[in-house]
Amino acid sequence: MLLQQLLSGLTTGAVYSLMALALVVIHQTTHHLNLAQGEMATMSTFAAWQLLAWGFPYWAAFAVTLAVSYIAGAAIQRVIMHPLRAGSGFIQFAAMIGLFLVINSITNAVWGSIGRSFPSPFPARPLYEGAPISGQRLGIILIGLALVVFLTFLLRGTRLGLSLRATAANPVSARLAGIAVGRMMMVGWGLAAAIGAAAGMLLAPIVALDPQMMFNVLPFAFAAVVLGGVSSPLGAVVGGLVLGVVETLVTTFAPLIGRELKMSIVLAAILGILLVKPEGLFVRRTRARL
């Protein structure tokens, strides 16, 4: 029973981790938090659903969705965020609220608010007789881990990753050092959109696919980011997994507060972490200078 709950929590946590990863990537490349991230992921998932409905094989639809999401994310950066670059962080925040409303509204209008079932590439039955975890849940966890390895390598081990991080840390110096800052920002948005799409397509078989799907996940992903630290992909993943397990355990063993005040509990956890260890569990403290 306990093992079952732990594993189920890990699966939920893996989805939080994926969304948290998308947030970390955006932060690593723009130093911003994209409020519309969840809505973009939901729309991508609906696009994948549409492709499947048109008869695409699963992995083809998966790949096409990733590519389209990447392009759409980069396009949003170029068309909407780029013209506002002269504005303060506050203007950009307001723009993301605008994006959030527009995307959510369009998804609602095109696909409607009824829940839809979304297929999973992994078998729903246990791997072998009596296994504590279904193939589907194991698949989600494995894909999540693969993405972490890939992203950590991308951000820490490649020239592109270095350019992305330099752009976020100091766009002016980065430009002077010969980095195409505008292109890096597009790449950052595109990457985050693609990761969000992957998270959405993995989550959709577990919960029903509806326009609010990611809206319910984003706060938890954010909590995971705070727990792990905003600049650490590994931290985001560990944070997401811990959160998923804690949430499942609380809901199971203290159903009264667990179900009704779920969000308040997460919130209290975030506030507690911020007061005790504000930089997160996996991040070195940074210094500022005048």
């Binding site: 911003h32 938090l33 409020l35 909407i80 013209p83 506002l84 002269a86 504005g87 962080g89 506050f90 203007i91 925040f93 307001a94 723009a95 993301m96 609220i97 605008g98 994006l99 959030f100 409303l101 527009v102 959510n104 509204s105 369009i106 609602n108 209008a109 984003l218 706060p219 954010f222 909590a223 705070v226 905003v230 009264l256 507060i257 009704e260 005040l261 779920k262 969000m263 308040s264 997460v266 919130l267 975030i270 506030l271 911020l274 007061l275 504000p278 500022a288 200078r289 005048l290």
Partner: protein
């Protein structure tokens, strides 16, 4: 400076002067022109405007984001509606302000650790979480759960139109007091310390400003404004439930603050009017895509706000070039 001098300074502050006159003139003439229902809508707009004034103190002068101000309104409204029958409405609103102030201080403490957009999302979570609280089974006897609470205090005015007028003038009076108070606060030593902390926290700290204290205080005061707004709203609406303070209200408050100039206090009431009227307009444009219309309008307004200075410069340069006599270069 004397009280009258302070008021004069308030009215004559640069671009705000005309706006202040217009807003005050509108506030005084509207009740004689508008029918009862529109008056009720205006009263709501003023209440939201009070919340936006608090938000402008926080964002425009303190440099912090909050997407959680519906939480303060909700807390204020519930405190006021629960306490009003026992201790009277004015005292209940005062306590609503205190309660919201405490919540604001708590978020202000979090704001010391987490900045910018992340604080925005954190406060948004507060707005999401708080609408669950009155529905928690432990609290239902006090809060009425999903079915909400009614305002049960006898009013001096008996007729329905009289009630609308009563609430309108109460809201106008409170709004005037809050706006003048916040304006005075911004011009005080505290206000200068707050703006210094916004512009460069390290430098301000080096000059002896207790930036942590100032930032937390700004959040607390901003919360108190929204708490007062919520307390008033409880009386104005005569009935509240968790749905009256849906998280979209936080978004609307933020947008109302954002598009009316983040440092202009009198314009906050225009922002309040936008909250009441624009969603209806957007729904009129397209029923299915009303929020897309709203969001798209917001993006266009932001774009204008960012590029307006550049456009103005372009036009004035062209004018200057035209005005120059041909071959006038020595």
């Amino acid at each position: 400076m004397s009280g009258a001098g302070r008021l004069a300074a308030f009215v004559t502050t640069r671009g705000n002067a005309t706006l202040t006159v217009l807003v005050v003139a509108a506030a005084v003439t509207l009740p004689f022109v508008l029918p009862g229902y529109a008056l009720f809508a205006m009263t709501k707009a003023i209440c939201y405007g009070i919340g936006i004034v608090g938000l402008k103190l926080l964002t425009g002068y303190g440099g912090q984001f909050s997407l959680g101000h519906s939480a303060f309104l909700m807390l204020g409204a519930y405190v006021a509606i629960i306490l009003a029958p026992t201790i009277g409405f004015p005292l209940a609103v005062a306590l609503a302000a205190v309660a919201a102030m405490l919540l604001g201080a708590l978020l202000g403490l979090a704001g010391l650790r987490i900045k910018g957009h992340y604080l925005g999302l954190l406060t948004f979570m507060v707005a999401l979480a708080i609408i669950q609280v009155p529905k928690a089974s432990v609290l239902v006897p006090v809060t009425g759960g999903s079915s909400g609470l009614s305002f049960r205090v006898p009013l001096p005015a008996a007729t329905s139109y009289g009630r609308d007028l009563f609430w309108y003038w109460t809201a106008v009076a409170v709004a005037a007091a809050v706006t003048v108070g916040i304006h005075a606060l911004i011009r005080s030593r505290f206000g200068r310390a707050l703006q210094a902390s916004r512009d460069n926290a390290l430098a301000a700290g080096a000059l002896g400003v207790n930036t942590a204290l100032v930032d937390v205080a700004a959040f607390a005061i901003s919360g108190a404004c929204a708490g007062i707004a919520g307390g008033l709203l409880a009386g104005v609406l005569t009935y509240i439930d968790p749905g009256s303070f849906h998280y979209t209200l936080s978004i609307l408050l933020f947008v109302g603050m954002a598009v009316t100039g983040i440092r202009s206090l009198p314009a906050a009431y225009i922002g309040g009017a936008l909250i009441v009227f624009v969603p209806n307009w957007a729904e009129g444009v397209s029923r299915d895509l009303s929020w897309a219309v709203y969001g798209g309008t917001l993006l266009v307004l932001l774009y204008i706000q960012v590029s307006a200075p550049r456009l103005v410069r372009l036009v004035t340069q062209r004018e200057a070039r035209k005005g120059r006599p041909a071959g006038g270069m020595p």
